[in-house]
Amino acid sequence: MANFSNEQLTTIAQQFHDLSAMVGQFRLDQIDSGKPLEDPQIVHLLGLQLSLSKTSSSVFIQAAELTLSDADGAAQQIVSATQSANSAISKLNSIDKVISIASAAALLGTAVMTGDLSQIGNAAQGVLTALETDHGMASVGG
């Protein structure tokens, strides 16, 4: 049983921060292209951006206290999934796809705070599945 190391917590927090910023920038680009601020998808993206940001700012407070049977393995799954999501969103133009990936990442953020390895594993897999079910635009681990 172990806790996440400070380095792992920093990396996880940074990954969720980057994801939030990426979703935020994607949303602004969509607004710049003419989508109105009250468009339901734009509003949805805002909710996801804030949720990912909150995960990032809470990681050091909540996840630092967790005791996991395999902290290294969990950290690796989280970082791998969020890095893939980040990379994919930076190349996407489809708002539906970005919402799908960001939603899966937000669920991963919730799972991280539970400290439950199977929930973290399932949620990380959920992010990868969201990437794989892309309409040929994003690649896993891209």
């Binding site: 939030s20 602004l28 601020l37 805002l46 951006q49 940001s53 407070i61």
Partner: protein, 292 residues
Amino acid sequence: MRQHNSSIVLMGQVFAFSIVLVGCTNLDDVAGLTKLADGAQQALPAVVRDIPDSCERQNAFIANIPNAERPPQIEPQDCKLYRDVADHITKDQSVLITYFDSLGKLASNTPLSYDSRIDRNVAAIDKLPNLSEQTIAASEAGQKIAKVLSDLATKGYRERKVNSIVERTDEPVQQLTSALKSVILVDYSGILANEATILDVYYRSPLEAATAGERLTRIVVERQYEGDLATLRSRRDAAVTYGKVMDNLASMHHKLKVEAGQHADLRTIATVIGPEVAALKDAVTQLQAGVK
């Protein structure tokens, strides 16, 4: 002969006065702990006060985002919870500052007084999962130091007791400084990070949607945004400096404990902790400038 006798009397008076001066040496004379405590008393509470203030600012930004543009999960927060935590932290922090102030006066004849009305009720802050744990830790350590302060005031401990006092308080001082640092550097910084995101959304969304014809309005709003960002940056910097102050206080107290354990005289102790006190004064001055 009379002149020779007068010289001897004068030399004797100077010698006697010197003994009185040496006898009065205390940590405050040499290290300036009271002045340091005064500065800390002005600068540190301003950082803690911003915990609920950040909550209020975030609520104000959220309230100004039109409902139709706002996802349902973004709701104003209950800032009373943050205010309760800040109140607790302020009291624990005050105990720490009073302790260092008293430490400076231990060897002097300055009367020590302490009103130990520290709030032991931590149930009220139990509802804020993020902040509660370190706040409770700070409160527990603060109560131990408050007990020593009460003893200092009522039992008349003085110079000869420095050793036992510092020995008795070192562990809670280390715990309290660590907990206060964590509350500000981790929890409060997290709150500021959320504020930064809300600020970004509040300004950049309508700026992105604005048309080219609104140039003058854009200029004004962008300047306002820059101003708010600069203020937020100074608050983040203040949090980092606060962490340094806590580190320096902990380090200074540890050195004090080591020296007092070796029965060093107060002047030697003050010389050893001098660099720590100087670093602390710099950090406190930096903090005072940053939290205006």
